[in-house]
């Protein structure tokens, strides 16, 4: 399945004339069924603020690289897989054996749930509310799932989560989806230090790039001391590549080896590999993306505040605010006005999750929201 031969390679070389010339010319369902044709863009009159996507799209460098890669589409992407792994290893200061790629970080969550939870491997402990996918996978695997409510400040209640765990895996989503809140760095650091090594601590840093609080930090640097720590990242958010499907995790080599057998051979496609590799070289994309998102976020939060709606302090590219009434009918009413907002999170039925789009999209949202309420 996943190739183990890891070696140094340069991507640009392969995309150029070289390769072109060489061609000579379960139990719970995640999959929704059936899906009618859906809106795929905010441009067709639909404002899509429901899936925490990046409205600015992939990096120009990524687009360029993909445009140069069509000739590689007929080849299995093993080599590019290794090259992206090398680049990610360098970026994170770890060795290539410490990186696993997935068909989106969603697939990484699946690998982790399947490997480390189940009737014999142990429980899955998650916050409530949080990103639900890993808990679904644990259930599919026959694992017990324990949900621990967030604290009043919307941080993970690490003490209670630790107490509830037995072997298995504790999922810490930081920043947390759907609340956009963070769990303070000192608390998380201590928690990781004090968790028994028989329990995996899985920290999902999908929204890492958007967090700028002094109280936030990535825990990738702690991996060297903690064989039971796994950190996941994705190219779906700040890199604007949700459609392409590429995510990864970092952990100690032995931990990665436990998950590796579940990795389908060539699970990340050649376009995603090309785009991810190019994106890593585009530092402006991250800076600009953060700035534009923060501006649009400040605008939206201020307007909502003016209207009397309180937003949970957001460290991500989405917000959650108290809409002071059941959100479900609101979601439907907004849809009527061509604005798609986040789904219901049952633990917070009077809150709406809203992706931060472009400023124009946020204006469209606000005007529809005002009319609706």
């Amino acid at each position: 399945m996943n190739t183990k031969s890891i070696s140094r390679r340069r991507f640009a070389h392969l995309v150029g004339i070289g390769a072109a010339a060489a061609l000579v010319r379960p139990r719970v369902s995640f999959a929704t069924e059936p899906s009618p044709a859906r809106s795929t863009s905010s441009s067709g009159g639909i404002v899509r603020l429901s899936a925490n996507e990046n409205p600015y799209g992939p990096s120009k460098k990524a687009i360029e690289m993909m445009n140069g890669s069509y000739n590689l589409c007929c080849r299995y992407p093993d080599e590019h897989n290794d090259m992206l792994i090398d680049a990610l290893a360098k970026l994170n200061g770890v060795s290539p054996e410490q990186i696993l790629l997935g068909d989106g970080s969603g697939e990484i969550l699946k690998f982790a749930a399947e490997t480390f939870t189940g009737p014999s491997a142990g429980k899955m402990v998650v916050a409530d509310p949080t990103f639900e996918s890993i808990a679904h996978h644990a259930e599919v695997n026959g694992a017990e799932v324990v949900k621990v409510p967030l604290t009043p400040s919307f941080a993970h209640d690490l003490a209670k989560m630790g107490a509830a765990a037995k072997d298995g895996l504790i999922y810490v989503c930081n920043p947390n989806n759907p609340t956009a809140s963070i769990t303070p760095k000192n608390e998380l650091r201590n928690f990781i230090a004090n968790t028994a090594r028989s329990t995996i601590v899985f920290v999902d840093e999908a929204y890492f790039h958007y967090a700028d609080s002094p109280d936030y930090e990535s825990v990738i640097s702690l991996i060297k001391d903690h064989p039971n720590l796994i950190v996941a990242r994705t190219f779906s958010k700040i890199y604007g590549m949700a459609g392409l499907r590429c995510g990864y995790c970092v952990a100690q080599k032995e931990t990665i080896e436990k998950m590796r057998p579940r990795v389908m051979f060539d699970s990340v496609n050649c376009m995603a590999l090309a785009a991810a590799h190019a994106s890593l070289q585009d530092v402006d994309q991250v800076t600009n993306g953060k700035r534009l998102t923060n501006d649009a976020k400040t605008f939206t939060v201020t307007e909502l505040d003016r209207l009397g709606y309180k937003t949970i302090p957001s460290q991500a590219n989405f917000i959650m605010f108290d809409c002071k009434r059941p959100v479900v009918p609101l979601i439907a009413a907004m849809k009527q006005r061509n604005v798609q907002v986040g789904r219901l999170f049952p633990a917070m039925p009077n809150h709406m999750r809203l992706t931060i789009g472009k400023k124009s999209e946020m204006e469209a949202f606000l005007s529809a929201f005002k009319q609706t309420v």
Binding site: A21, A22, R27, A242, K258
Partner: protein, 365 residues
């Protein structure tokens, strides 16, 4: 102290790793030559590349790459369904057809179960079954022919899945309609049969397995965009099965398993009948040429029907290495227990000729 390592599935520990074909770039670097000089005939890929129409469609799709894909793959499943004469509800998409094999194992196998397949069968079945703690019963072939009778006879109370690659990779043999009908008339209802037809579009008169899907039997037919459509890098394959069976398989699928560029590219590729026809013609001519040359060289080979041929060279590892030194990548088969054989994918005529020239040099040494 118990560690998490002791708790993880024991059978994962010693699992074989799939060895892909040696990549072009790596070979070029090792030989210190331009990658353009390397001929890769190692992964049964399409030597003509993707359909130009698919490329056009992909280019347009880059504009929405920041949005999650359509999880239900409405358009692509509809188009496939129409092509094969079924409804959308009879189609499941995988991140490569390999992933549909994963769904099958995920959904049907528990630790201690069995799968039955043929000796020398495509190795993914065994690798994936092992991940789920299942045993693979491999039935000896007769001159590489899959022995479907013996496979039926080998069924145990624990058998859940039977995998028949038709034609099989790497041997290239195909079971004909009569054998398949005989098999289907005898296979117990509680067993799911998988006909892996990754190379279906290359076959002149392929046996019809879809009739059994139509009859509602427990049959899954696998096809892929990696071969005739030249989209191996995009990762999209599919299963065709009765609706209830598809519903079960959907439970193992992640909503966004097939990326949006692949969905768009595959849709356009499916419609580009001209590119499929051209690819088949190049492969037909190349295969005939290679077989003529092998015959003239007095090399044993397994008569082929798809875009690859298995030949007997004696010391497979040596010939592989010496072909590599001549800038031709072929596939050694030691991992399949076929150390005396090589598998050669059919390339363009120019590539085929260079491959034969290199092979002649290597074998005359």
């Amino acid at each position: 102290m118990t560690s998490i390592w002791d708790l993880a599935n024991a059978q994962l520990r010693d699992l074989a790793v799939y060895e892909p074909g040696k990549p072009i770039e790596e070979t070029a670097r090792e030989l210190d030559v331009d990658p353009a000089q390397i001929i890769k005939l190692a992964s049964n890929e399409n030597p003509l590349g993707p359909s130009p129409k698919a490329v056009e469609a992909m280019r347009a799709a880059l504009g929405t790459a920041q949005l999650y894909p359509d999880g239900g793959a409405f358009y692509l499943r509809n188009a496939i369904a129409e092509r094969v004469g079924f409804a959308r509800e009879n189609i499941i998409l995988g991140n490569g057809s390999n992933e549909v094999i994963e769904f099958l194992c995920h959904v049907f196998l528990r630790a201690g179960d069995d799968i039955v397949t043929s000796q020398y069968a495509f190795i993914a079945y065994k690798i994936i079954a092992t991940v789920f703690g299942a045993r693979t019963i491999e039935i000896a072939t007769r001159e590489f022919e899959q022995d479907l009778d013996a496979m039926l006879a080998a069924i145990t109370p624990k058998t859940r899945l039977i995998f028949i690659a038709n034609p099989n990779n790497p041997t290239g043999v195909i079971s004909d309609q009569r054998k398949i009908d005989m098999y289907m008339s005898r296979v117990p209802e509680n067993i799911v049969t998988v006909f892996d037809e990754a190379y279906f579009e290359f076959i002149d008169r392929p046996p019809d397995t879809l009739r059994y899907v139509r009859e509602g039997r427990n049959v899954v037919v696998l096809r892929t965009f990696s071969k005739i459509h030249g989209l191996a890098g995009l990762r999209v394959g599919y299963g065709i099965a009765p609706n209830e069976l598809i519903k079960v398989l959907q439970k193992a699928r992640e909503p966004f398993n097939v990326n949006s560029i692949a969905q768009t590219g595959a849709l356009a590729a499916l419609a580009d009948v001209e590119h499929q026809r051209l690819t088949k013609r190049v492969v037909d001519e190349g295969r005939a040429y290679l077989e003529r040359e092998f015959t003239a060289m007095k090399l044993r080979f397994v008569p082929a029907v798809a875009n690859f041929i298995m030949i007997h060279v004696g010391d497979g590892a040596r010939v592989f290495k010496e072909m590599l030194a001549r800038k031709v990548i072929v596939r050694p088969l030691k991992g399949y227990g076929l150390a005396e054989w090589l598998r050669i994918s059919v390339g363009t005529m120019e590539q085929n000729k260079k491959c034969i020239a290199a092979l002649k040099e290597v074998l005359s040494k």
